[in-house]
Symmetry: C2
Subunit: 428 residues, 2 copies
């Protein structure tokens, strides 16, 4: 059966007329000549172009109106590689890999360049043969989404899935995850599964595995080694730590931030040192901190009636009124400096307080402590009822507020959870 995945209207008609399908290797003549594979398209794409993957790996969009000639060099067939079954060593510990999507959890089809989200144990071990020497890894596909499309309801499903395996044969769990919102999910699991008696490692990759510079393999291998060799418990993000290939960092789940759009070492621990550094065979404790031991009592609810409001000169205070009127229960401010928002906001903040909205303060500086007693602005905001959130990074504070709201009965309950250190999310 011919496949035209994502093509609509004019571009679909163009493919059908020329008897072409996704995956065909074609020669195209416009003002220039191109040789490449027809790529799938997606919802919301226009219908004026077809997309080719060129031999250099880049994709190019070609306007169908400008195509003078198109011929098939070789037709796509659905044949799949036969992948050898990984051999399993009964002496090795068992790990589980839960796949949620993103570049790391995908198999690149080298024929079309398209991302195939399903990741079986066999495929995983075939792609990264080193893993079979570290552990026997079972895999489970939970969903297949780029992480910019994950929502708090996905956090809940991941947390429930992890929780269902806590008392199992698995020594630890890897969660394969897109990098865009990995820090939000890591924070969500840190709160929802506080006290978890095993370690969970979120792993992603900044470069897709069909590129020579991909960090997928080293991140996965490091995570597997960490889960097998260390006695750590809790939620971690395990990602590249240096521009070269020899160092991987294991970050606290509540303290990590993606601080660069494309570098492999984009993830950084903020206001702390990464928990562990993994170099070759060595897993080195890298921080004096420990996640407080506590009883494992999963609380897996998130309430999204929480907004993150970044303050800037010219921000209209009516936005706060709108949130209050839209039944938001909590606002996390990303203020300036030590934790300030302009005087223009005071009236709306006072109104929000009166309506029982929880308000917390973080800083858009990202690093450093909130100190609202130093300047009058801060003291005014304290008097207006805004809670200073120490050095919680704004995104973590937002996730914590959704979690605290989802797992408490009233304002006091939520405030109590926000003040309690659950998973190293702030320093004393």
């Amino acid at each position: 059966m011919a496949t035209h995945y994502g093509y609509t209207g004019k571009s679909l008609a163009f493919l059908q007329k020329n008897n072409l399908q996704v995956g065909d290797l074609v020669n195209v003549t416009t003002d220039s000549s191109y040789n490449g594979i027809i790529m799938p398209r997606y919802e919301y794409s226009d219908d004026e172009h077809i997309v080719l993957k060129l031999k250099n790996g880049y994709n190019i969009g070609l306007e169908i109106n400008k195509i003078k000639k198109i011929t098939v060099e070789s037709s796509f067939t659905m044949k799949r590689e036969v992948i050898p079954q990984p051999h399993s060593d009964p002496n090795l510990p068992k790990l589980l890999l839960i796949s949620t999507g993103g570049t790391i959890a995908s198999r690149i089809d080298y024929r079309t360049g398209a991302v195939t989200p399903a990741l079986t144990a066999a495929e995983l071990n075939a792609a990264v043969p080193e893993l079979a020497k570290i552990a026997n890894i079972d895999t489970e596909v939970l969903f297949s989404e780029y992480s910019e499309n994950l929502l708090p309801e996905h956090w809940k499903k991941i947390a429930e899935k992890v929780n269902s395996y806590v008392k199992s044969e698995y020594r630890g769990i890897i969660v394969a995850h897109g990098t865009d919102t990995m820090q939000y999910t890591a924070a969500a699991l840190s709160f929802a599964l506080a006290g978890i008696p095993i370690a969970v490692a979120l792993v992603g990759s900044q470069r897709s595995s069909d590129r020579p510079s991909s960090d997928a393999a080293i991140n996965l291998i490091s995570a597997a080694k960490f889960l097998v060799q260390s006695n750590a418990t809790g939620i971690y993000v395990i990602m590249h730590n240096s521009v070269s290939d020899d160092e991987v960092a294991c970050h606290w789940g509540t303290r990590v931030r993606k601080n660069h759009t494309s570098k492999r070492n984009a993830f950084q621990t903020v206001g702390e040192s990464p928990a562990y550094i993994i170099r070759c065979e060595l897993i080195e404790k890298n921080s004096q901190f420990e996640i407080t031991k506590r009883e494992y009592l999963p609380r897996i609810n998130f309430d999204t009636h929480v907004a993150l409001v970044k303050y800037y000169p010219g921000l209209d205070p009516k936005i706060v009124d709108y949130l209050v009127d839209s039944k938001y229960k909590a606002i996390i401010f990303e203020g300036t400096g030590l934790g300030h928002i302009g005087k223009v906001m005071y009236e709306s903040v006072a109104r929000a307080k009166k309506k029982g909205v929880f308000m917390g303060m973080t800083s858009q500086c990202i690093d450093g402590m909130i100190r609202m007693t130093v300047y009058e602005s801060g003291r005014d905001l304290l008097n207006l009822g805004i809670l200073p959130l120490a050095n919680m990074i704004p995104e973590t504070a937002l996730v914590k507020a959704m979690w605290a709201l989802g797992n408490s009965k009233n304002y006091e309950g939520m405030e109590k959870l926000m003040k309690e250190k659950i998973a190293l999310e702030f320093s004393d």
Copy 2:
């Protein structure tokens, strides 16, 4: 006359009953004993406390109900220090210092610890005697606000003031400014005064000048040296660059960000190197970039119908609908990773586009290039009409959008300005 600045209700009655005023040095007994100066309070403060400045420099709030005894050790008198007139050297160049407020532009009253905003040339030179050897500095107080209270209308006033001195005897202009929103003002001046034939240095301090660790003096001295010795033109932020006292950085006005709430070296150039490094007497060019020479044609308007929307899992797309319905003309997204927002937003984005709202994409990673052609999410968003804004930092992109909207007649005019590199705000 007794002064009770900021005290109201019960706390005011308490001071009056005990014949006390702000500035008095008192001994207080509660469960403990305290010795300190009664500090002024501010609007929105409660009336249950009085605030003392202790000898160690910290302020403490004492609940008046718990005060068992309070006695005056010495009464505050209004006597001011006599400040020597700075001596002016006719051979030195002239600089102008425009004061807008913040810690740096303030004189600390050592008696009460209160911040006195007026800063005369005499006071400035008395406080930092090194300045008189570098230049003859005139000063002008434009306003006296903590920078979290500055608005785009203040940017306009600062730009107009600077513009009025472009063709004057002054070799350069220092703008003393609070650090909280200094980067926003620096970006605003960079766009409004693009092509300015002199250099303007925004200077702040992270620690107030009554503390031994204050960076006020070295930042001011470095700025004065820079303006006198270099031939640079354009807008710069001059702030501490290292934890020790020997290095100051001169940042491009559009590329600087406050990345720590309290460190003296909180300001960093993002995605670039600082323009100059200033060490002792030496001003060192530190970047291969130059601000493009262009005709000086000040365009000093800002339109605040622009919102910065930071994307996060759980963000309600209705917020975008609300902005569109509230007549916003432009939205700058702070997306994830390479420039993404979740699929849940697409419908509202399409609606905004249809209503003629300009939309641009930046990344909450802060550092790194927006690349919306790599993943389908990005391509979808390009198709929906969102303009990728290269590596502009989100706050700079917001300011640029307010400026572009304020200085163009229609959508096309605004888009053209957003794409044009005005003041090194993005890399090619």
